[in-house]
């Protein structure tokens, strides 16, 4: 599954992304399951709010972390996220 660069990306309505104080981590929650996220994955997913497309997410994160060349890493992660149903595009 590939990310459509034109369309905005939205976090899944049937999953929940939240900060877990006890684990000091962001996690994705879904029926009877949980995925623990590292910081960069969590930063990407928090921008998937249905208003930004791929390029906008990349530029926002590059600006936030004062860096460049993130597009490949971010695209690869979002493809995994799409395959797992954590995000959607429609």
């Amino acid at each position: 599954m590939a990310i459509n660069p034109e369309l905005p990306i939205q976090f899944s309505r049937t999953h929940r992304l939240q900060w877990e104080e006890a684990q000091q981590k962001d996690v994705i929650l879904y029926p009877e399951g949980m995925v623990e996220l590292n910081q960069s994955s969590a930063e990407i997913l928090k921008l998937c709010d249905g208003t930004r497309n791929l390029a906008q997410i990349v530029s926002e994160l590059e600006l936030k972390f004062a860096t460049s060349g993130l597009i490949n890493d971010i695209t690869a992660f979002l493809e995994v996220a799409l395959k797992n149903g954590w995000i959607q595009q429609n």
């Binding site: 999953h15 684990q23 929650l29 879904y30 029926p31 009877e32 399951g33 949980m34 395959k83 149903g85």
Partner: protein, 375 residues
């Protein structure tokens, strides 16, 4: 409290709140204790709220509202609301019986995250026979309503010899109902299922055929539907890593407030399982005799003690060791290294013999009348 062999513990992640043993269904593989009728007392709303608050503070995040049938509790919506305020991900594990559209909306507004509906078979006749209650059409309607109101919809079908031949139809039904997840739970032989094992345990050939069909389906629906397949451990050579290790992850609270390291642990002797009316969740999790009983590896006998796989499967299931060998310290006899491994083949042979016998014994349905016979 006792805590003689206290070991540093990881915090609980999963809280199973068995709100009640009351249930309109009579499934003969129910995991509730066969003598559940003797536990009449139920925690009140304030007790449950305290339990949810204390467990959440320790780090529990997945919460299952279960039973019995949790919908029979009048305070379910109030508890769901409390759980949402605390940040739990709440799963309602229900037969669907008694779930109206109004209730589905009310629970959604209160913050319920997901509803898991059990269906017993792919046909009305068999579903209603196994459930002991006319419920098939109603369950299908509830499944549609759950989808309609935006919940992830999980169908759970417990698999045994009476419905295993319906695997293709069960999968088609899940697809037709638009399930987001399908749990194909091969029966685990505890509680009522243990009592009915001769009538429920399929043959190896039946398992292999059903698994093959389920596997092909899993590939076909990848990306649309997720399949959870609970393995039939009687046909495995290594035991399951039961509960992800004793007292590491799972905390079950029974309807009367007894805290259990797994939902079958009530059957084990001498654990002195503590009650949430007497102790806090933190005391229970960290200090109690029951939760420390099988933590770590010190309790193990051979062949587990010196086994290089003990950190992978923790010696398997304590309840299975107890039910099948009479000694809860033994290796789970599912393991081919267990000196008692032959009991598994005996169980399989006994079930196979029963299916060809003319005077086969009848299923014992899970209801209060039958439960009192075991009390």
């Amino acid at each position: 409290m006792a805590g003689s062999n206290k070991i540093n513990s990881s915090p609980p992640r999963w809280l199973l709140a068995e709100l009640t043993y009351a249930c309109p269904l009579q499934c003969p593989y129910c995991s509730n204790p066969i003598d559940y009728a003797k536990y009449q007392a139920e925690l009140d709303t304030e007790d449950w709220k305290r339990v949810l608050t204390q467990a959440r503070k320790m780090g529990a995040v997945q919460l299952g509202f279960s039973g019995g049938e949790p919908l029979t509790r009048k305070d379910l919506t109030e508890l769901v609301k409390h759980a949402r305020d605390l940040g739990y991900y709440s799963n309602l594990i229900t037969s669907g019986y008694g779930l109206t559209e109004e209730k589905i909306i009310q629970l959604k507004e209160a913050g319920l995250d997901h509803i898991q509906i059990s269906i017993q078979a792919s046909t009305q006749e068999l579903n209603d026979h196994i459930a002991g209650t006319t419920s098939f059409q109603l369950k299908k309607e509830v499944a549609h309503l759950v989808k309609k109101h935006g919940y992830p919809m999980v169908l759970c079908v417990v698999i045994h010899s009476e419905n295993i031949h319906q695997m293709p139809e069960i999968l088609a039904m899940a697809e037709e109902l638009g399930a987001d997840y399908l749990e194909l739970a091969n029966t685990q032989y505890y509680g009522w299922a243990h009592a009915n094992r001769d009538l429920l345990l399929p043959t190896k050939a039946q398992f292999e055929q059903a698994e093959q069909i389920a596997q092909a389906f899993k590939e076909k629906v990848a990306g649309k539907m997720k399949i959870y397949y609970v393995v039939p451990d009687f046909y495995e050579n290594r035991p399951k890593a039961c509960m992800n290790g004793w007292g590491t992850t799972f905390l079950t609270i029974a309807p009367d407030g007894v805290a259990l390291p797994c939902h079958s642990a009530r059957e084990l002797p001498g654990l002195d399982c503590p009650n949430v009316k007497d102790y806090s969740i933190e005391e229970i999790w960290k200090e109690s005799k029951a939760f420390n009983f099988f933590r770590g590896f010190e309790w193990m006998k051979e062949p587990c003690r010196s086994c290089d796989e003990k950190e992978k499967d923790f010696g398997g299931c304590r309840c299975q060791a107890y039910l099948l060998t009479g000694d809860m310290y033994n290796a789970d006899p599912v393991c081919s290294k267990s000196p008692d491994h032959a009991v598994i083949q005996q169980a399989i042979d006994s079930a196979a013999k029963n299916t060809v016998s003319v005077d086969a014994k009848p299923l014992i349905f899970r209801n209060s009348k039958n439960s009192r016979l075991f009390s």
